[in-house]
Amino acid sequence: MTIDMSQFFQVFFDEAEEGLAEMEKLLLAVNVSDPDDEDLNAIFRAAHSIKGGSATFGLTDITEITHVLESLLDRIRQGQMALTSQHVDAFLAAKDILKSMLDGHRHGATVDLEAVADVRMLLQSLSEGAGKKAAASQTPAGSGGMSRYRIELPQLAERELEALQQELGLLGTIEKTEAEEGRCVFILDTTKGADSIHEICSFLVNADDLKISQAVAARSKEEEQGYGFFAPFVPQDATDEERGYGFFAPFVPVNATDKERGYGFFEPFVPQGDVEQAKQAAETAAHGDHDEPPALAVSEHAGEKKAKGEKQPVHESSSIRVGIEKVDQLINLVGELVITQAMIEQRTGTLDPMLHEHLLNSVSQLTRNTRDLQESVMSIRMMPMDYVFSRFPRMVRDLAAKLNKRVEFVTHGAATELDKGLIERIVDPLTHLVRNSIDHGIEIPETRLAAGKTDYGTLSLSAEHQGGNIIIEVTDDGGGLNRERILAKAKQQGMGVSDNLSDSDVWQLIFEPGFSTAEQVTDVSGRGVGMDVVKRNILAMGGAVDIRSSKGFGTTISISLPLTLAILDGMSIRIGHEIYILPLGYVVESLQPATQDVKEISGQGKVIKVRGEYLPLLPLYQIFNIESTFTDPSQGLVVILESDGKKAALFVDDLIGQQQIVVKNLESNYRKVAGISGATILGDGGVALIIDVAALLRSTRQLSDESVFS
């Protein structure tokens, strides 16, 4: 009997992906010179839980990488190693590799095994402290690449010392000086890094008994590394505190991992070291809980970290993972409840308020509760824009590096909430816009400086609510769009443009298919595909795109989206006995045309004249084969619709009213119906179909073509 593991896999993949995203976010934000303990802990935790999960599911390749990553992170978080930008780069690379490995397991995507091995090597070398050798540029700064190291060794046999001196001599010039208490100190001038010295010495001396310091500089770094320096002979320059901690075992070196493990730390015999300190140790041991020996060795600083770490789970349990279909079902049920409630309200409306006071009070209470319930249920589907924004810092960083640009990335309104369905669909268009801004918008540092701007460009992503819409803006302070070039390009492509177009009309040209003004095609962008797709996708989501640009000052691309696709403002119209819904966003106005304004065109169709403009007339009764009350437009009403710059007049019998409607999918149980985008349930429990205005307007020319609507 096997348990179906796939459901757990799914959860693991989801969580791992979240963990990686979180890790990336933290890594990008981390202050390399002075990392926040909390951040380091959070990064570590993310790696740790991925490791645990992958081990549970037998994804050993992921476990291996995360293990190396985790150990390195642990050393940094313990303060044994200082965080460098090299580390951050390595971690980001590791995150990418882990992501691709996850995808490999999840969707069977191909994984670049070489890259996996590379990252692994990189991490390993970093965690062994040899990372600096890997990247030559990171060699400790010294004049001409030469640095002077002071190497302090523990007591060693004369023979060993000589061998060591010889070996180290190969790195550069070495001098031997005798320090007090029989210890030996080498002074080494070399172009190699401290890691090479470590490597050589480690043949004879335990790495932790060794103290290498850069004689010229880098003292501070040494200190960071050195805390928890449990060498038997504390060097002269060590501070008293350093000496004081856990100084129990002169010849048992303790490194950080030992501190964590801790156990077996209390060798029964007190070594011959400083008696007073040994006593002190014994005292502490007596006071301390024997079950938790690490507490002794861990410095106060580390203890503090631990305490913080324990608090963390409280944050993590503040959300639960629910299947989307459960939420949808809940929304459906609430929708149903709202309709039922509306029915009750309608029925009780006719009752005598004096006789039925209690009933009516209860009904109004029900109305309030239902509305609250509906609101909070709808909000379950809402997610903060941060979900989208958080994937950009990395992209901006990589792209800017690739294009030799300096870009500062800022986000505003990351907490603004948007329907999950929309959130997922907005990612691609936004990605494209951000890439464009970095590639075409923001200039290279030299150009910027020449233009009297800062050498780094600012790219900002913002989101805010505005009425029933959310406005998402991508703003850069780059060179702005070039009006002349766009116009020239448009003419070259044979578009009918005139020179006195308004700026906003010119900007809209870049959304034309195949339009690109990039001087050269880079592998980032410039092939002229994309902007048209961006616009199409946004329109498909019921949104709109607008560009504001000013030459030399930058460009803002503004996307306006409805908050949710599930609810929209609709206008109900009547044709014969049938009721249809028009999404209000497309409705410009409605009017009753005068007879003389309706003209026929070669017996094929009609147009109506609205304020000097001839608009095609769409007789809905003909399109949908409805027995209508009126067939003469001057008797009924026309609703002027606009979508994607196209206008048309829809001929209907009557307008009923305006209301918020809950959009239902027609395709979940039936198929796509031409001219219909969905359905909704009316207050009386009946179904009304929602007209697909965009499709209707697209097909105005083929109105007579039956295939469009069959």
């Binding site: 198929r671 359905a679 179904v687």
Partner: protein, 164 residues
């Protein structure tokens, strides 16, 4: 190891199957009871423009939009009348909900495999592809329909075929 509960694929299910018997005109049909979600009366539908005439339209079934198919029109059996006795069988077919208008529903019948005879090679209204066989019970004969297959067939046009 996972045998479908309906067991239609494997006809030799020893326990026998339960069928919902309904009539279209003078003919009596049976469908797997497990495909039936509920039985309702006929209510006003919302017409879908330009759809085939046997698709009456859609109704609101507790918040779900459900298409209604009239079998009598589709298979030209009986006179399509709509009154308080008209019955709609709500089917749940591979996650999709479809309503089917029939003349009347009689009862639920358990048929053992021996009672199910193969359908003869002759013109029935239903393409023999959609038939499981003929069920016999005393004097009655039930035309057993593989409703799953029928409803998801291209003939019905209920489910959009993937662009292929």
């Amino acid at each position: 190891m996972s045998k479908t509960i309906s067991g239609f694929g494997e006809k030799a299910d020893s326990t026998g199957n339960e069928f919902l018997a309904f009539t279209l005109g003078k003919e009596e049909y049976g469908i797997d009871i497990l495909k039936v979600q509920e039985i309702r009366g006929y209510e006003a539908v919302t017409r879908i423009a330009n759809s085939p005439d046997f698709i009456k339209g859609v109704v609101n079934l507790r918040g779900i939009i459900v298409p209604i198919v009239d079998m009598r029109i589709k298979f030209q059996l009986g006179e399509p009348t709509y009154d308080q006795f008209t019955v709609v069988i709500i089917l749940n077919i591979s996650g999709r909900v479809v309503g089917m208008v029939v003349d009347s529903v009689s009862d639920v019948i358990t048929l053992s495999p021996e009672q199910i005879k193969p359908a003869p090679e002759m013109g029935t209204t239903f393409d023999s592809d959609y038939l499981i066989g003929l069920g016999t019970l005393d004097e009655r004969m039930l035309i057993l329909v593989d409703i799953d297959k029928l409803m998801s067939s291209a003939d019905m046009g209920l489910i959009e075929k993937l662009a292929a």
